[in-house]
């Protein structure tokens, strides 16, 4: 008798579960929203927890990845939003689509990933310092001096690093022609070579050659930011002594392939720059997803676990601490990216350099690239007018030299008197 009751009860239970499942399936289907994003955010959107949370909120987001540089110009095929990883790309996107709204759910400073013996050799050479928080600072000006002299790892003053064979001291980057991460490196280098000012036009002559060499001397560049990271993580300090990367690649612990090698260290370049992930809605649905990514605490928490910095600094710090990965609480020494036209000009100079295999062509060709869109005046005559002379930033439209805005909690930009970085 009791047994029969039990059977009936469990039968009812099964029926209840089934009913719940059926009810759920029949419930309101999430709205499909499509976006074109930089590949560095693909793992976030692929994360089942992110997918589930968005579904709870009523959305199914389908993303497609593109180089940040081409997002602005790509045929978006009716996408609801674009989500590039840099200010110049965001700026170009808004101009291309005539939109203004934007969301900045999270950002990521650029870092250099290294290995302890490599970092120590750089410290002995006076180009790096270990900080109390367990992170390192890489003096980019000192680094540039080393590359100017084509210093080899083994010849570094102070003893050198033997594990890298006879190769030159060089930071490994992605391909500047297609990848946002390398364009960020370019922004920092161009700033330093321009006398610590954000360049207002693409460098020419010897400066352009120096920039080109920093990329070409690395040899064949990897396409995306994931591949060199995998190589850095798997193949040791001799293979990749220094890797230019998003801080999120280092701090993020969700998803596969996020393991770090033994003795990994994170170096904050001084100065560095920040990848501002900017969601640019094209439809109401895209707008709503942008709002949710920015405001929903759960989505923000997941972003922090993917290594991105969100408005709530503690969230990121807590996630990094839990993962045992030291990070810098406040990244202070930051430069802005140049305007889109300037970046484009520099990149097409590099394109020529890669195609020629030799010296980059003079940069004057570059000017046409950004300017062919309908210029409704507010972006200024930025690119090519030679009488527009280099130095005086004060008379320019601010958009030429600087990012439109900083994300919440983002550090201040240079030039900011900054005693911390000596």
């Amino acid at each position: 008798m009791r047994r029969i009751t039990a059977l009936v009860v469990s039968g009812l239970l099964v029926a209840g579960v089934l009913a719940a499942v059926v009810w759920n399936l029949a419930g309101p289907t999430p709205q499909r929203v499509t976006g074109v994003i930089g590949s560095e955010k693909a793992a976030y959107f692929d994360d089942p927890d992110v997918v589930a949370r968005l579904a709870d909120l009523g959305y199914e987001v389908e993303v497609r990845t593109r180089g940040s540089r081409s997002i602005a110009r790509a045929d978006l095929d009716g996408a609801d939003f674009g989500f590039p990883g840099s200010d110049p790309s965001a700026e170009a996107f808004q101009r291309e689509h005539g939109t203004e709204r934007e969301y900045r759910p999270f950002y990521s400073p650029m870092v250099v990933l290294s290995h302890r013996p490599v970092a120590e050799a750089l410290r002995e050479a006076g180009a790096a310092a270990e900080e109390d928080d367990g992170t390192w600072t890489l003096d980019m000006a000192a680094y540039l001096d080393l590359t100017e002299e084509r210093t080899r790892w083994r010849d570094l003053p102070g003893g050198g690093y033997e594990g890298a064979g006879r190769s030159e001291v060089l930071v490994r980057t992605t391909d500047p022609r297609t990848s946002n991460s390398a364009a960020m490196y370019l922004a920092v280098i161009a700033y330093l070579l321009n006398g610590e000012e954000v360049p207002q036009e693409p460098p020419a002559g010897g400066e352009a050659e120096r920039i080109a060499r920093l990329f070409l001397a690395q040899g064949a560049p990897p396409e995306s930011s994931k591949q060199p990271f995998d190589q850095y993580a798997a193949l040791g300090p001799g293979h990749t002594p220094l890797l230019w990367a998003y801080e999120a690649q280092y701090a993020g612990t969700r998803g596969s392939g996020t393991g770090l090698p033994d003795g990994a260290v994170v170096m904050y370049p001084a100065p560095t720059t920040v990848s501002n992930h900017t969601l640019l809605p094209l439809t109401d649905a895209g707008d709503e997803v942008g709002r949710l990514l920015t405001e929903d605490p759960e989505l923000q928490r997941l972003a922090a676990e993917h290594g991105f910095r969100t408005a709530d600094a503690d969230q990121f710090a807590a996630a990094a601490e839990e993962a045992g990965r030291p990070v810098r609480a406040q990244v202070a020494d930051v430069v802005n990216a140049p305007a889109f036209e300037v970046v484009e000009g520099m990149l097409s100079g590099l394109e020529t350099a890669y195609a020629d295999g030799g010296m980059p062509a003079p940069a004057e060709e570059a000017s046409g690239i950004g300017g062919d869109g309908a210029d409704d005046g507010d972006s200024g005559g930025s690119s090519s007018d030679s009488d527009d002379g280099g130095g005086d930033t004060g008379t320019r439209d601010p958009r030429d030299g600087a990012a439109p805005a900083r994300p919440p909690g983002a550090p201040p930009s240079r030039p900011d008197p900054n005693p911390e970085t000596a």
Binding site: E62, G165, L235, G236, G259
Partner: protein, 556 residues
Amino acid sequence: MAGTGRPASGSSFAAAATAAAVLAAASGCGWGDGGSGGSGELRVLAGSELADMEPLLERAAEETGVTVTMEYTGTLDGVEQVVGGGTEGRYDAVWFSSNRYLNLYPEAREALRQETPVMASPVVLGVSEHKARGLGWEVSKGGAVTGVSWSGIADAVNAGDLDYAMTGPAASNSGFSALVGVAAALADTGAALEPSDIDGVTDELQGFFAGQTFTAGSSGWLAEEYADRVREPEGRPAPDAMINYESVLMSLEDEGIPGGLLPVHPTDGAVTADYPLSLLESASDGAAADYDAVVEHLLSPEVQREIAADTHRRPMERDALPEDARGAFPELPELPFPATAESADALIAAYYDRIRKPARTVYVLDVSSSMAGDRIEGLRSAMHTLTGGDADSIPGRFQRFYGRERVTVLPFSSSVHAPESFEVPEEEPDGVLTSIRDHVDALRPEGGTAGYDALDEAYALLEDEDGEDTDGAFTSIVLMTDGRINEGMSFDDLAEAHADLPDELRSVPVFPVVFGESDPEEMEDLAALTGGRAFNAQGDGGASLDEAFREIRGYQ
């Protein structure tokens, strides 16, 4: 297949590719239907060295529900297919030992959506323990040679103490990686090689590559032939060493070579293959989902561990190996790969035209009556490719006859016709290349098929030839016949004659082309007898002859 019918102008070609891409985008390669499920099949164009992954892929199919269908090709032909858009719609992904060369071409870069390195193996020299100790090299407990640089290897070659086998860099990624690595190491600029660096290092490279006494178009075949020669030299002793993927060197012991070859881990580094499984831009959303599933499976710690154990490639997940197994894979500096196609191509051209020992080939060509029509046309067109007629395709550029190469054309039908030899000059080769083309164009089919008489004559020609250092060239014979050899010497007669040849000639490989009604088994036997390799050209009409002749170039 690849390389045929390629438009002559690079730019019109690029325009066509762009137009195709735009069309694809317009014709509803729009957003998926929301489902993320794939079709369960991932079609992959792969380098032949990845065939050893098949057992692991079968397991992957069981566990992920995605069947990976591999079709194999040579590295350069693969690059050509991606660059030329030939992969679009036919494959979902490509998988070569490295994408570095491919990525030097903008069209190819744009054709790839995502690249995931799955495993790694540096290209290094492998040497027997006995030889290593004889050279005074240090052998580590882990069974590798340490403390030796590439210039140290060059010193051993220059002293006459070391020769080695290596694949041709225009045909195979391992040879190309070795060339790039050696050039970077010997140029010693510390950075990626530029075209202007090549002249300065040519002498040293000549010294290094003087040690290359055996070549092939595929790293797998090179290793097999090497193993064969170690086991049964029969007048063809194996070289002292072999340049190949570390994984291939470490697998030799499994292939029954006692002690195998110890990898030399050069102090100045190596070029490492990282086997990126690469999703094509043209792949469907379903295929992309399948791709993700396969990649995730391959990168899981268990599978990474199996990859290391079964294929001796290095895992990409550092924790996959138990602590004590990591010693076999010491970390190596990475030598830089050229940043531009121009640098890479200049290096390959310099290697063939100036640096390595030149090739010397007798083309024994069937002009019997059955060759009339399409077949003789196919033969002519194949020779046109080799004389530089297809300079706009990547393979065409690298499979032409090179500077300093000696080409002898020996036609036969019922009898052996008069041979004609051509010497391709290092500079301005066009005149001689045109003469070769004209000569082949003038061949007229008639009569029977006395193939072995012709082969016997080819050996006699090589014997008579100048007598000057036959060691100084990569000598081979290509036999193209479209029918059963039915006049003159039989196969047994030839085998007998072959046994009596002096060692230098017995080690000259014959590359028979199986074509038309020729006897595949007998051609395989002929290849085995001479240490060569048979190539199948029994595809449609004469077009496949072109492919076979181009493939053979990798072995010459």
